[in-house]
Point group: C2
Chain length 495, copies 2
């Protein structure tokens, strides 16, 4: 089903309602926000198989994956609700007044408050976890910000169902209607109108570089620029270190055949670049990887546009000078399917050709053959910002290749040893973000409760009567939260 | 003394050296960074009266003020050094691995790491505290980032002296030369070259809207956009609530006459807008304020350009329709002096004329006469983002004027009750920042150790061997810092 684009008037009304709702929602208790988030989780669960089947139809993602993603989405909502209630994200700080009247030391207290209405652009590849009720929505609500979701046109009906669950939860919790809105728009005009609206105070986006960068540029061109966190994907380089490859080239190949092709390679953390020293161990790795890739079957991609883009980008990459095709699935792909593919190139070809640094979204990876580990380090320093980088390495490798390890740290948000980048654990310690162009601001994450930070700002109260302070800052600490009082982290009351 | 602008080659060399220095400085221990910061403080102190006298000559600021500002600058360096060492800003988070191999739960650990070389543009009005070794420099060094300071041309020699102290401290601490550089440049080309350089990873700025916005725009036009925290000043509205005015109009007038004219009004937190209900109490306030203002003498401004800008902007404001001059110092100003001045206008004139929302940097403030508190609320909603807002109010006023208090919260970073906005206490609870155009990003502060956050990003380690993790993330917690382990804040070891 194709939804009609929302009109400029509808966008304006949604933002006006959101601004109105913000006036009360920003003052809601942490308990009430957490309750709202848990109710959303319950309402999504209550959609049952209707939701799963609709999404299978719209995205061609396998049922098990969608059930897993739904569970993850519910876990996000409930675990971020717990984090919201625990209140550490408020970063409550209290500097009490000095006792010497000759020294200027007023009572100063600070907490984080919501920025205002947040516009969320969901991803095509995660119809639940990074979409309508995904991480951006959950963290914005925890922050006390109303949310306006622009539905992804590739799964508009799924988005409608989830939006319905959120609205139902809002009603059950007695929240104003404007706390959540759902907007359709296949055209860029709708997206632009949302970002440019005066009452929009922040934006969360997951998707392509083109889309995310356009939102960022619009937001900075506003009379009042606003923060945009765009997660724009990445090629997630994997550095294959010599001793590790000598010990286990075949096992590594097995892990990576699975990671590259998981859900037809449609992950922002898909490993698109495999960098090793051009020696016999690398040949063993490439042979084992190729054998697996040839066996694996093409999968149906999220929608015909993504399948077309995969075919075109893969063809472009494979036709570059110095690039050879190493292995392709032996099964001919059907309509809208992507065939697992491995290419290979020398480091020199990689240095000379920025196109090879670009993501081919789908089941594709390219092996870069380097003369030595110094050349591997040069590949790392040549790379743009990434969500993840991986080192397949023994402890000896890690200790011996300090320059490479250092170079890799500069370019990514998450640094994996002996794992695969696909699979993002939801937890406070996770960083899902990275230097540009992986995201528009490497200081933030879109996974984990720290994602709340994107949508809050500090507000400081000077000389306020205790009774009129927010509960989080009152002397008695009625919320029982951790606070930094005169530079000491404590749950104690202020005496 | 006028310094020659640094050349593009010198800028390039400074950034290359900084990038090189970053490779080791980012891995330096918190102790070593703190020691460096304390050594800078000691070296500044060691400059003694030579520094004070040179700055008096360059800025015309009074000696007592400069001695106070030097003490504050030293306090910033030493207190941020203590915060650096305490390590709370690292936000160490550990999610340990799951025990069920069927559930994907790798070990994930995250800390904050420095972004890379930071370019600092100091302010003319704070030659120490917001300049060469000011808050931006101190927080960037704490973060492990090398600093390149662009000296303010209005106090080039002061900046040279302080830069010398920093370089001496770096040498004493055995740090690489590139950890700090000092660049001169009166032309915008030097500033642009600094912001656009590939190795520049963040910018801190304190100054005018024109300057700060230009840096922000350049940074966003880079191939790789970088974060810019520009603090661009503000008019710091003061809302005079009815009961408070009935009780103490004269006392409030006395406080504000002093605040408006302190150091010739050259503070980014100077109260430039006084909003009250047009009644007899306001008349008493205005009369008392006017009497004081007429008595106060003009002061010499920081430099002739600032004095000229004050004269011009004041004249422009006073010539607007509906604006009347209420009081001017009765002493004729000398060369480069600014005369204390109070104007008055109706709320209608204020709504219709954006020029009246603009800062007149110097000893100037305008009284806005409103029909009632509802109109005062409308003034608040019409205002652009501010560093501070102040409510002169009794508890009854605060409880009774919820709409006004809410509106004021949206527009500022610091909300003062019954004080004056001038005077910024240095401490963790302080927020010196605010919604655009007060700053380019309301989520950060340039005062307090939280200023470090501007210059760091999370880096997450997945599946790393304990011995190779940064000390902050090792199981044994060798630094003894607070960490969040499986969602619990603790100093305990990970077992």
């Amino acid at each position: 089903m194709i939804f009609k684009d929302s009109t400029v008037q509808e966008v304006d009304q949604a933002l006006r309602d959101a601004w109105q709702a913000f006036q009360s929602f920003r003052k809601s208790s942490l308990k009430d926000r957490a309750q709202f988030m848990r109710t959303i989780a319950a309402e999504i669960e209550a959609l049952g198989d209707t939701l799963i089947h609709k999404t299978m139809e719209e995205t061609h993602l396998p049922e098990a994956r969608l059930r897993g993603e739904r569970a993850r989405t519910i876990f996000q909502l409930t675990s971020y609700a717990a984090a919201c209630e625990a209140g550490n994200w408020l970063e409550a700080r209290i500097d009490t007044a000095g006792t010497d009247p000759a020294v200027f030391k007023p009572d100063i207290r600070k907490i984080q408050v919501g920025l205002g209405p947040v516009v969320v652009f969901g991803a095509s590849n995660f119809p639940y976890a990074y979409s309508t009720a995904g991480g951006d929505t959950a963290t914005a609500l925890a922050a006390g910000c109303p949310v306006i979701v622009k539905a992804h046109p590739a799964h508009g009906e799924t988005s409608e169902l989830v939006a319905g669950a959120i609205s139902k939860a809002a009603a059950k919790c007695g929240l104003p209607k404007g706390v959540f809105a759902h907007i359709h728009g296949a055209s860029f005009e709708v997206g632009k109108a949302l970002v440019m609206h005066d009452y929009t105070k922040a934006v969360g986006f997951t998707g392509s570089y083109g889309g995310g960068k356009a939102l960022f540029d619009w937001a900075n061109q506003r009379k009042e620029p606003i923060p945009v966190f765009s997660e724009m994907g990445s090629i997630n380089p994997v550095f294959l270190l010599p001793e590790k490859m000598k010990q286990s080239a075949k096992e590594v190949a097995g892990m990576y055949a699975a990671s590259i092709t998981q859900d037809t390679g449609q992950f922002c953390t898909n490993p698109g670049l495999l960098i090793g020293v051009d020696n016999e161990d690398l040949n063993i790795f490439v042979d084992a990887l190729s054998a697996k890739i040839r066996e694996l079957k093409p999968g149906t991609m999220l929608h015909p546009g993504i399948a077309r883009a995969f075919t075109e980008k893969r063809a472009a990459a494979l036709s570059q000078e110095g690039v050879t095709t190493v292995a392709v699935s032996e099964t001919k792909p059907g309509e809208s399917q992507g065939a697992p593919t491995i290419a290979s190139a020398t480091a020199t070809a990689f240095f000379n050709n920025p196109l090879l640094h670009q993501e081919v979204f789908g089941p594709y990876s390219i092996v870069i053959r380097c003369k030595d580990t110094a050349e591997m380090t040069r590949v790392a320093t040549h790379l743009e910002g990434q969500l993840t980088s991986t080192l397949m390495a023994t402890e000896n490798d890690l200790r011996g290749q300090e320059a490479l390890v250092n170079a890799v740290q500069h370019i990514c948000g998450r640094l994996i040893v002996n794992g695969v980048p696909t699979g993002v654990r939801v937890g406070l310690a996770m960083q899902h973000g990275g230097p540009f162009p992986a995201t528009t601001d490497s200081r933030f994450s879109s996974v984990g409760a720290d994602g709340i930070k994107r949508f809050v700002r500090p507000l400081c109260f000077q000389g306020w009567p205790d009774a009129l302070l927010p509960d989080a800052l009152k002397n008695d600490n009625p919320l029982g939260i951790w606070r930094t009082v005169n530079d000491v982290l404590t749950k104690d009351k202020v005496l």
